[in-house]
Every structure is written in structure tokens, then in C-alpha cells.
Symmetry: C2
Subunit: 120 residues, 2 copies
DNA sequence: TATACGTATGAACAATTATTCATATGAAAA
DNA sequence: TTTTCATATGAATAATTGTTCATACGTATA
């Protein structure tokens, strides 16, 4: 918890030097911040969250996810691609069918973190 | 880790009953899923992430955040509103100045979760 | 090979969203 | 009260994004 204070410097045109140094040293690089935002963006869509919840229960093929969620195969496939790119899910092919499953338990942890924040 | 498997049922028009029941019983209500997605959406923007990183260091007034990030006061104020609505930050007024700070350490935990996922 | 089926994907459209601009609010000082 | 300064906010614009539609790809089977 940061209980430090600093007086506003809005009259000047420069922020206090010590704060400025601390902030700029702790702030990740621009590119990393974009990756970070993109990562969280993945969880910022109900369809993708629903897909993840479905995969909490069982590995599943695309058409079954689509049926369970009452959406088109195409829509699900597009979202699965995004989840795959973020390395939140993995897949294995079995003939014509592709089975998707959670990449690891990280996903559960992150979603639960969000859930517990909302339930406070 | 879910290591259960189920054969695809894409020929039929119905997903296996047991899976369907499990999924629908574990799936949160639609409204909650929207709140959850909206919550993660907040972290899905670099400006807001930057603001949170700045507040990791110190409580700060709007104009200083704007100066630190090289953005307009208006843009920052709009984003602070969103962060406030999500209860990620709090504020206190001191004369004309409004100081913003993190609501609790939850924010740090969530961001670090994202960071560690990216760094794997 | 030809057909069928499950999945992937590019383009287009509709909806959402971040920033800017102009202006309003709120508080202190003249 | 009037002015000044910090912050908030509504409307407009530009950019991003989710879904649909049409179609392509991959694999198995006839």
C-alpha cells in the first residue's frame, strides 16, 4: 500500500524529480505494456470467458463449444484463435476434429482473481 | 487440470447430457459474465495500465499523472473515471486538487499475474 | 478422385471505445 | 463577486473489435 504523499506541482511544468525517476524506472517498456494490455483484453469479452468456463469442465471440440454457447462455429473459431495466440488454450487434432483445452491452471487463477474482486 | 475426454458429437444435434449439465451448472449467470468481462476490459488499455503503474509509486493528482504520461488532463480524467467505477482506485480531495491512489493491493496482484504469464 | 464433414480465415459490417475539443463544475484567492 | 486553477464531462471523431457470410483447408471415407 502506498501511503506516500507529494504536493501537487501543477503550477510548475515539471513533476518532482524523485517521483519522476521512480516512476520511469519502474514503468515497463511501451511494447511490454501493449502486450500486457492485449493479454487482459483477451479476458474482456464474454464469448471468450464463456469458452474458458466451458473448457474448465472438459476438453472440447469446436462444434460442441459452439452448440453449448449457442453461437456459430465461425464465431467460436475466431475467438479460439485469439485464446490460442495468448497461449491460454492448446489443441490436439484427432482426425477431422480439433480438441481444445486449457493451456494450464493459470487461466483459472486469473479468472478467479476477477471473480473474487467482483464479489467483494 | 481437466484430463477428461469426450467423443465429438457434431453429427448429432445435442451435446452429451452429462457435460451439458456440468457446464451449465458451473457457468455463471449472463449478467455476471458481463461484469467479469468489463472488469478485465479495464486492464485492457495501455493508458489505464500506465496510470495504475504510476499509482504503484505514489498517490498523485490528475495533472501530474497527465504530465508523467505525456497525455492531456482530459484523457487521463476520462480513464480515471473508468478505474474509479471499477473500484480499482480511490480519491481524496484537497482544495482544488484531487489525489488518486490504488484502492487496494488487489490491483497489483492482478497485474503481476498478467506480467508473470507473459514472462513464462 | 470425389464427396462429406469439421475447422479456419479473409472481408465486410455493426458496435464499442479512446482521445480530442469545448465547456462546465468546484474550490480557493483576489 | 470575480478570477483563477484543477478537475470533470458531453459530443464528435477515429480506431478497434466481434460477428456474419462466404469460402478455403484438412482429413477421412466412398
Amino acid at each position: 500500500m502506498s501511503d506516500k504523499k507529494h504536493s501537487p506541482v501543477c503550477e510548475d511544468n515539471i513533476v518532482h524529480e524523485d517521483i519522476l525517476q521512480k516512476v520511469t524506472s519502474e514503468m515497463p517498456e511501451e511494447e511490454f505494456l501493449y502486450e500486457l494490455a492485449d493479454f487482459f483484453k483477451v479476458f474482456g469479452d464474454t464469448t471468450r470467458i464463456k469458452i474458458l468456463y466451458v473448457l474448465f469442465e472438459s476438453e472440447m471440440c469446436v462444434c460442441d463449444i459452439a452448440k453449448l454457447l449457442g453461437m456459430t462455429q465461425s464465431a467460436i473459431s475466431h475467438q479460439l484463435k485469439i485464446l490460442k495466440q495468448s497461449k491460454l488454450i492448446k489443441y490436439r487434432r484427432e482426425g477431422k476434429t480439433v480438441f481444445y483445452s486449457l493451456a494450464d491452471d493459470h487461466v483459472r487463477t486469473i479468472i478467479n482473481q476477477g471473480v473474487s474482486h467482483l464479489c467483494e
